[in-house]
């Protein structure tokens, strides 16, 4: 990796963009540090793609500042293009070309970087080297798109919804590749509406909704920020339950009923669960279901907006 002059790879200030009367991006501030993987997480229509495309120099902002690798689109566009690796959402590469031909084409646009063969190796498409793009599976196409973003040996990689529409196996395969790039010290900005993806890949995450950044930080910070570490969900069938006494169980911060189940937000699972079982024993209420999960970015999103990420 060529050394970067600044420690900040991308700086966005007070970015605004409206399409006709829809405000897509409404005062966004972001800072992506060199060497980190930064995630823009939000539901469809939150303004993630517009934000990333403004950073990529493909869309002009109405107002605000964008500084990429210490450079600006208005004055340094051609230098910047050489330094960025871009994967767009829903690009269909030329179907009649083979994997190798496609990468040779993209490689020819850059002054330096790995050759087509090496790029094929980086995304593990060796077996599909001579296959037409039209004959690839969804996951293979996404890996090829990723390889197209890598042929210029970019200082900053933009990935817009890299795993949308893929089956779980193809998604995991792509995650492993992105983790390898992270390990190699590349700076990545990715957008996603999958909270698992953001949690797994991103060092820091900004949660976006209706064109605004709701909150940003490491996934751990964001989850800790809502003051809940775990969620315990149980069902006692049709038996009467003294809810006040459940509320009094050690470590329980909030109690909520949803579809016949009781949801407890707790801080310390190892204290709360035995205490809960003891309390249910005292009330002689049989347990028909018991589940626990650690709080996720989804819970953060619900906490912030009252909606689920996948609602839209």
């Amino acid at each position: 990796m060529p050394p970067s002059q600044t420690k900040t790879a991308l700086r966005v200030r007070n970015l605004r963009k409206a399409f006709k009367d829809v405000v897509a991006v409404d005062g966004v501030d972001l800072e992506v540090r060199s060497g980190e993987c930064f995630g823009l997480l939000g539901p469809n229509g939150a303004g993630k793609t517009t934000t990333i495309e403004i950073c990529e120099g493909l869309t002009a902002a109405d107002s605000g500042e964008v500084e990429v690798l210490g450079l600006r689109w208005s004055s340094d566009a051609s230098t910047l293009r050489q330094k960025l690796g871009i994967q767009l959402q829903e690009t269909q590469l030329a179907e009649k070309l083979t994997v190798f031909e496609t990468l040779s084409l993209f490689r020819s646009f850059f002054l330096q970087g790995p050759g087509a063969e090496e790029a094929i190796r980086m995304v593990q498409l060796e077996e599909k080297r001579g296959a037409r793009v039209g004959a690839l599976s969804g996951g293979q196409k996404q890996r090829l798109a990723l390889a197209c973003a890598l042929v210029g040996d970019p200082d900053l990689l933009f990935l817009d919804e890299p795993t949308t529409g893929l089956d779980p196996q193809a998604r995991r395969q792509l995650w492993e590749l992105i983790e390898e790039f992270k390990a190699a010290g590349r700076t990545i900005l990715l957008t996603t509406h999958y909270m698992e993806e953001a949690e797994r890949l991103c060092d820091r995450v900004a949660i976006m909704d209706h064109g605004k950044i709701m909150t940003q930080g490491t996934p751990r910070e964001l989850i800790a920020g809502i003051g809940v570490e775990h969620v315990v969900e149980f069902s006692a069938g049709s038996n009467a339950l003294d809810m006040d006494r459940v509320r009094g169980v050690a470590g329980v911060r909030d109690v909520r009923s949803e579809n016949g189940s009781v949801l407890l937000q707790v801080t310390e699972l190892h204290r709360a669960v035995p205490a809960l079982l003891e309390e249910l024993g005292r009330q002689s209420v049989p347990l028909t279901e018991l589940r626990t999960h650690s709080a996720t970015l989804e819970d953060v999103f619900v906490h912030l907006t009252g909606r689920h990420l996948r609602d839209e």
């Binding site: 767009l88 690009t91 590469l93 020819s108 646009f109 210029g152």
Partner: protein, 346 residues
């Protein structure tokens, strides 16, 4: 890093992409190459200059048969009266001649059929001459059947012009809109590629394909139908290159903003179909009223076809086709100028 060769140049790679997309699309190959040839062959055969036609007629008596056989353009068979009449009715012969009781000759034929009327004229002339008629003025025939004035000679330059137009407009319009629709164009402009390379690669590919676009129908016409090539080759090539650039500019303009294949197909048809009809591909544009002639002359397809016909059939040089070159050049500049202003990369 390995040294970069010719093949690593962006313009070469982009042009290779055009070539690969074209040759790997069998339909494109068919419509742009084989279909025009089939059309030329079909029309060439349908409108070929046949030897003077011999008309089949019937006569019912040996004497009439004998008299009619003096006329070389008639093929006479002798039939009994009923059969002769039936043959006329079913169109197997153009006319039946039989003597009437009063010494006259009765001709049975359909007067709405040109062959019937022609047979009537020839048969009557033969019978009158056999009976001793002398023509007061003798006529002599001088036959003109030169290559260059036949329908196929007229048609081949028309088809070449139509081919240049169709291949250029389709080649630009379809590829550009398809790349825009698939967001491939947006992806490519997100790379450091110089944008003019993208458009230049289309033109390069058109120029590579042009000798085939033009050469195939030209060779076909020359070899199969002996269509003449009287003008200079350089002038012919110059006209074709200018035409191809001009129609590529038209295609670029049509595709400059459109996002769907349906929309660009509609636009291309709106532009091309009137020219197919007006510009004299299949029949002379002189048949349209004088009022619209200036308009027809200003169409780029008319200009190409007129220039090609002048070159191939009359042997005109560059100077004589200057007005046509002017028309093409004007369309090229205007369309390209607007296309660059309107063009959208996404």
């Amino acid at each position: 890093m390995s040294k970069r060769g010719f093949m690593d140049h962006a313009l070469v790679q982009l042009t290779l992409m055009r070539m690969r997309e074209f040759i790997r699309e069998p339909e494109a190959l068919f419509w742009s190459m084989i279909f025009p040839l089939a059309l030329a062959a079909g029309l060439g055969i349908a409108f070929r200059n046949r030897p003077p036609e011999v008309l089949k007629i019937a006569a019912v008596t040996p004497r009439l048969t004998e008299a009619l056989r003096q006329e070389k353009q008639l093929d006479v068979m002798q039939l009994p009266p009923q059969l002769a009449e039936q043959f006329v009715r079913t169109g197997k012969v153009a006319l039946a001649a039989e003597p009437a009781a009063d010494g006259t000759v009765v001709y049975r034929y359909d007067d709405t059929n040109p062959e019937g009327r022609q047979a009537r004229m020839l048969a009557d002339q033969a019978i009158q001459r056999a009976a001793g008629r002398q023509d007061p003025i003798a006529g002599r025939d001088q036959i003109m059947r030169e290559p260059g004035s036949r329908y196929i000679d007229f048609l081949i330059p028309g088809l070449i012009g139509m081919g240049i137009m169709g291949n250029s407009i389709w080649g630009m319009g379809f590829s550009i809109v398809d790349a825009r629709r698939k967001k491939l164009m947006k992806r490519i402009v997100a790379t450091p590629m110089p944008k003019h390379y993208y458009l230049l690669s289309f033109l390069l590919w058109r120029m590579i394909l042009l000798p085939v676009d033009v050469g195939v129908p030209l060779a076909f016409g020359a070899l199969v139908f002996d269509v003449p090539l009287r003008g200079s080759f350089v002038a012919l090539a110059a006209a074709c290159v200018l035409a191809s650039l001009c129609f590529s500019a038209v295609g670029l303009l049509l595709a400059s903003r459109v996002r769907t294949i349906e929309a660009v197909s509609g636009l291309m048809n709106v532009v091309m179909v009137p020219m197919w009809i007006l510009s004299g591909v299949f029949f002379s544009s002189q048949r349209f009223p004088d009022l619209v002639q200036p308009l027809i002359k200003a169409l780029p397809l008319t200009a190409v076809i007129d220039a090609l016909r002048a070159n191939m059939l009359q042997g005109s040089g560059l100077a004589q086709v200057a007005p046509q070159a002017g028309v093409l050049g004007a369309w090229l500049v205007v369309c390209f100028g607007f296309a660059l202003r309107l063009f959208r990369w996404r």
